[in-house]
């Protein structure tokens, strides 16, 4: 049935198609240029990203190095959840962190139902949208983005790009090298719904809260600037 449906549909499509050769199509697409993106809230990429994360109802922190990062994660965990535990994917970058220094007890693997806090190391982050990007795999099982109540995401400032076009350039480079991941997830905020009377509620299906830690080469003023632009 499917085969005949396929040929039937393609026969109909060919009737109205221009039948232009691939090279012409590629040339035409090229000629259209790139779409305009949203203007960044400020010139500094880090501050712009942090601003948009805040606007997306995320919370933010900045750290300079790995030991600072584990300390901040540990503090955040204890302050908000009175816990030392979290679940993280088998990401070598996460495995190499000095968790014990900050009293954090990570379990590496997939989040199981009932485990409250998940940690991901983003592949990329986009300033334009305030989103972080992960892809599915051992390093970050999809469940870790979705099943925990709270999602903490580390972003290396070197992986921060200005807009989604640049993000796709980087993703495409990576796919050329390592193949296509099963899933590419752009996340921009805690899970939310407005399906009941248009009233916004967080934690619809996924995490209630979303905490982003930008680490590495981040201007000292970035966090403050972001908070002030976001009106916090």
């Amino acid at each position: 049935m499917t085969d005949s449906a396929r040929s039937h549909i393609f026969a109909k499509l060919r009737q109205v198609s221009r039948g232009a050769p691939t090279t012409t199509l590629e040339r035409e697409l090229q000629a259209m240029g790139r779409a305009p993106g949203a203007a960044l809230p400020c010139p500094d990429l880090c501050a712009a990203f942090l601003t948009n994360v805040l606007r997306n109802q995320g919370s933010v922190d900045c750290t300079g190095n790995r030991s600072e990062t584990v300390k901040v994660v540990g503090q955040y965990l204890y302050e908000h959840y009175h816990s030392h535990r979290l679940v993280a994917g088998n990401d070598p970058r996460l495995a190499a962190m000095p968790w014990r220094d900050a009293g954090v007890l990570p379990r590496f693997g997939s989040v199981e139902p009932g485990e409250p806090v998940a940690l991901s190391f983003a592949r990329l982050a986009v300033a334009e949208t305030g989103s972080i990007i992960t892809w599915t795999g051992k390093a970050n099982p999809a469940a870790n983005n979705l099943l925990a109540e709270h999602h903490i995401v580390l972003v290396d400032s070197a992986d921060l790009v200005a807009n989604t076009e640049q993000a796709w350039d980087r993703i495409n480079q990576d796919m050329d090298k390592s193949g296509r991941p099963r899933g590419i997830n752009f996340i921009a905020g805690p899970s939310s719904t407005a399906d009941i009377e248009g009233q916004l509620v967080y934690g619809a299906h996924g995490p209630h809260s979303w905490h982003v830690i930008l680490m590495g080469d981040v201007p000292e003023t970035a966090l403050q600037e972001a908070r002030s632009i976001a009106g916090l």
Partner: protein, 478 residues
Amino acid sequence: MKQTSETFLENASEALKDAGKAQRRDLLALFTPMVRDAAINNFENFQTLRQHVKKVRQHSLDNLDHYLAQFEQEAVRNGNRVHFARDGDELNSIVLDICQQHSARRIAKGKSMVTEETGLNDFLQRANLDVMETDLGEYIIQQAGETPSHIVGPALHKSAAEIRELFLDKHDLGPRELAETADLVAEARGVLREHFLKAEVGIIGANALIAENGYTMLVTNEGNGDLCANLPRVLIVCTTMDRVLPRAEDASAMLRLLVRSATGQPQTCYTSYYSGPRREQDTDGPLETHIVLLDNKRSDVLASDYHEMLQCIRCGACLNHCPIYASVGGHAYGWVYPGPMGSILTPLLTSLEQSAALPNACTSCGRCAEVCPADIPLPDLLRDLRHQEATENLSSTPWRRGMKMHAWLARHPRLYHALTAIGIPLLHRLGRKRGRFSRLPMADGWTSQRDFPAPQRKTFMQLYKARNKASRRRADDR
């Protein structure tokens, strides 16, 4: 899905009687344009982006055979099985076959207007499958046994109080308050989470199909679609072939329009691209993935004068800005797609005969076209459908004759002026005292809702000619 578009006027009349629901619609009609406007105004290059995406989409549709074949090839390379369905029945059978091959009993379903179009839920349920909608809005209306009233917010016609009653009735969870909206959301989350963890098959839709790499794109705020796509061991993506775009960056560009137009957000919480089944190294994800591509007359639309309608990105902005949608709500339209886009799609995807009232549910106010991110000339297409109704004798005969008579008279100015010079002064004299008529023969439609203002005096043409004659006489006298 059972269609009741034929009784649009009766449906509308019913809807208008429910004051509570009408008030909620009024609020949404005030609020949704405001958030959309704010988002668009914040994005400085809206018009440039709109025209860019329009060009790309037009290019994709003009070469759909090429890009669809490319998508299929890449999707197969990614490990998917790609199916084609000419109509809703074919899609439903394909999906059921897959479920039965896996002896699946429980299905977790993400929001998909396409499967509303094909009536997939009913079909699967008749085969004893436990299908659960997981988008909160869809879940609510599924529990209530209703259909979506809006393509983005399917349950916005229901009050929190109604939803509370519904949950107390449907969820066997003992006595509880459910006083806040957040409590309702939390309860649905708990119930649905269990279903997610047990479901063998996940079904989702797609906002775009990317030809260059075979990924499907899915946009949600809740993350329910992603749970459907990642937890069950089989994933079925049901969508239509007009969603194809050449490149991933084209999908991103389109998203900038879609989300702002739909909810006023700059982007949704979750934007996900899925390529196929779990990879060798992966610890989770479906073991088998299928993509079902539905035509259901879209290839006919592509070849017709209504082909611009395929540019629609299903944002719902035209619904939110349509005063008729705001007045009567989505259910009155009697099928899956309401509002301006629905009044065009319904006749095209079902039949004009079944939905002849819909293209007339338009004042040509143009607000929909103004906000449409795909720049579709919706009022023009609606008028063209009315033209088709006139040509195919689907509109009422007295109306058509009346209009023809008006046009004929207007083409005979002398007769027109002579007749109006008799009729109008007469009408003026009859209505002079009150200045209006509460009833007039053959004008029930008008006078049922408002008075009919009486003509001010004679016709302008009478008065003007008289005035000219008088001034000529004065000139002659001098």
